[in-house]
Symmetry: C2
Subunit: 519 residues, 2 copies
Amino acid sequence: MMIWLLCLEPFMIQLLLESLQWNINGTTSRTPISQIGESPYYDNLYRWITDPTLRVTFRVDPHVKINRGIVLGKNMHESSLEIREPEMDDEVTGEMDAHMAAVLARYRKTLVERTKFHLGYPYNLDFDYGALSQLQHFSINNLGDPFIESNYGVHSRQFEVGVLNWFARLWELEKDEYWGYITNCGTEGNLHGILVGREVLPDGILYASRDSHYSVFKAARMYRMEAVKVDTLISGEIDCTDLQRKLTEGRDKPAILNVNIGTTVKGAVDDLDTILKILKEVGYTEDRFYIHVDGALFGLMMPFVKKAPKVTFKKPIGSVSVSGHKFIGCPMPCGVLITRMKHINALSRNVEYLASRDATIMGSRNGHAPIFLWYTLNRKGYRGFQKEVQHCIRNAHYLNDRLRKVNFGVLLNELSSTVVFERPEDEAFVHKWQLACQGKIAHVIVMPSVTVEKLDLFVEGLIEARKHSFADGNVIVPCIAEEIGPQNCACSLHRYGLLTTPLKNATQIGTHENQLTFK
Amino acid sequence: MMIWLLCLEPFMIQLLLESLQWNINGTTSRTPISQIGESPYYDNLYRWITDPTLRVTFRVDPHVKINRGIVLGKNMHESSLEIREPEMDDEVTGEMDAHMAAVLARYRKTLVERTKFHLGYPYNLDFDYGALSQLQHFSINNLGDPFIESNYGVHSRQFEVGVLNWFARLWELEKDEYWGYITNCGTEGNLHGILVGREVLPDGILYASRDSHYSVFKAARMYRMEAVKVDTLISGEIDCTDLQRKLTEGRDKPAILNVNIGTTVKGAVDDLDTILKILKEVGYTEDRFYIHVDGALFGLMMPFVKKAPKVTFKKPIGSVSVSGHKFIGCPMPCGVLITRMKHINALSRNVEYLASRDATIMGSRNGHAPIFLWYTLNRKGYRGFQKEVQHCIRNAHYLNDRLRKVNFGVLLNELSSTVVFERPEDEAFVHKWQLACQGKIAHVIVMPSVTVEKLDLFVEGLIEARKHSFADGNVIVPCIAEEIGPQNCACSLHRYGLLTTPLKNATQIGTHENQLTFK
């Protein structure tokens, strides 16, 4: 049986779906509805509906009224603002102007509200680019290579190159040895880095941990590359033992590795130095591996944490990408990709086949984003970022401590400001705070825009939300030891490791004492 | 011998390089320097320097002083605005604020100037989004699928879906039968369309004309697809005879075709109906071909021209993409991609391998772009666009006529507002008007922001520039019959076809009489 739902908001879908019974390949289940959200998180739900290899049926709760509906993976967002053809006399009556102004005013109000209550995504929402609003009147386009001037004159390459020079310096690559560009988002950085890796080592196998951003495996599929998923520790770091085993198995072919500096869900940092050691031990010479470092969020925070391992091109890595709209903050998504000049030259050797000489993935490129980044880098500088990183990590520890005090299972990796805890049952609460969820866990990413006051408000709400999930008010703390380790789990069995039952990888979980020092 | 140049502007590089003598694989040449410019245009120049398979030598003119320089493909844009670390007392002295304000004010002035003199790229620079500047304070991100709500609340999906519905209607695909999203640029639309084609027909061969946008062949390379380049007529249209031959040769495998609605250089429209006829004749059933329509610029103009063939999903096409920053006009590049729902479902069948469920190429997506598009679509509506298309095509004909009157070779395809003519020798003039050039030709693309007054100014400048290229003032009109056909060439041999020498494909060139009618 196929059902159709009409819903405006994900938490409404949630509520609706909660009242259905799933029957998947014969097993009844009600759980994974929680996984609507950012792309990697709604895997299961989506598959149930669209994957014809799964026999999915729904049983509708008779108390729920369903009007009409959707094929999932389509039309779940039904609240669309349709385009209205202007009337002939619009210019006289001002009808259209009034309509548009009303829509925009309402929308602005929503944005203010949604920005206020936001903790789930790694976006710094605290920025003021008022000084740049004068530039919105221009169609600024840095088409093609940032280092080759186009005939199109309305560009911002001088800002872009300034920003790229700053990042190249941060990651210690000389001006005449690097190439890079400002991307549209973290995904484009990963797509580019992995493409460069494949062009340098055409028959290379891609190795990446299963906690890598979904764009990494998307790249493998797009580029028709052999890809090997490597296990992770509970902390979210790549499991170096498993990596070593898999690199050994695949050693007949070159290796292209994706190394995470801050995974999406747990903020874990892969151990670059150990990975390099393993490559050497297994017998990969430097011309037989290529490392792309996905530093989406933390690649820009880590340089300002003293104890953190260093991302630097003095190590044999091929490319690094970070997002610009995350830690820095920007009205639209953007990112930075830096690679070695020699790799780009390798890429362009096959020009004839490529039939083009552009080395970027996109052709036309947003010329406003570089100006936003340039503006913030100038205003804040190294010292400003350092202060903000301290602020974030301190507040993450504050949240971690507060949650432990009120009996929540919680994981905070040492180098991270991502606080992982049990997924709240209360969907309205998840929606309000825009929490990204995966299975039984959710996370808060403490960004510069997150204050202690906001965290207090959040924790109080979370406690309330938990209470409401139990009809009799007697809270039973769920076990999430599998996800965050027994020493971090607050359930009656584990109690933060006091009553440890041995678990796979349990000894390898990162500590989260409040011992970080800053440069 | 390797030379190094230091230059700030491409036309300076041009001037410098013009004074060198090239020696390529033994042949001396001075021509293709003109090909610095947008990515597809600087192929040759770039290759000469970076491609080790070509033996390139330069002989430096003794009158030219060369200071130091660059490896081409790098550092040609040397004027970068470096990031300055703020001083401790900046907040007191206001030094940094003053510096930034000065840089931005200077930059704004350049933008005004460069926007004023612009004819070479298909960007409508005439827009006023003042009403939307209030939204620049928000980090608006439509991450993932536009139809699946994310937990991240600061998005603009309601605007995006509104815009997509408008385009689906324009191209006649039912709401529940289409899927699409707002891309970062035309390239992303092509990358997506061709990826969908490859996923639907994994061993399909990609066929595209050699006048296709460079992103089409870039896609083939990225996706490791077999690609076949098809010849073009002088008009820039795909040569259907050659296509038929190549489709016949490749008929053991399915076909993925890129069809151009307005090529980059000549604005030519491939004949979709004939292509469909050929596919049938050669024996491709509908399940054995996939057509992606690249409508970058003209895909949005053509629906408003009465005589134009129709782009519609009632024909067996798989996807259509257009750019949003071109005809519509937008501060940053963006585009629209519409495909059939069933194809996206096919794409998502391999979820397990993909390890993700997102169907877009980028992950985080600019949430401002949909609002800009939504705003303009509402304000102008079908009728507004129709008026603007009329304006563009009329003005293109005006320019065409004026140029012919003053003895310039000129090509204007019937359905286009792209006027192709001889490449001016005067590089300062090319730079001033930001003309995109290829080989011996340049073009002006008449957009809504281009007025008759601007065109008059341009033609007067062009006449002056041509005169200055001849020391004695005796103008010799160059022959560009190979590029635009003898009937369009003004050289002493052809004189607009009056003295025709038979040329390949000469009879197949589009006419350019002023006979267009409008809906």
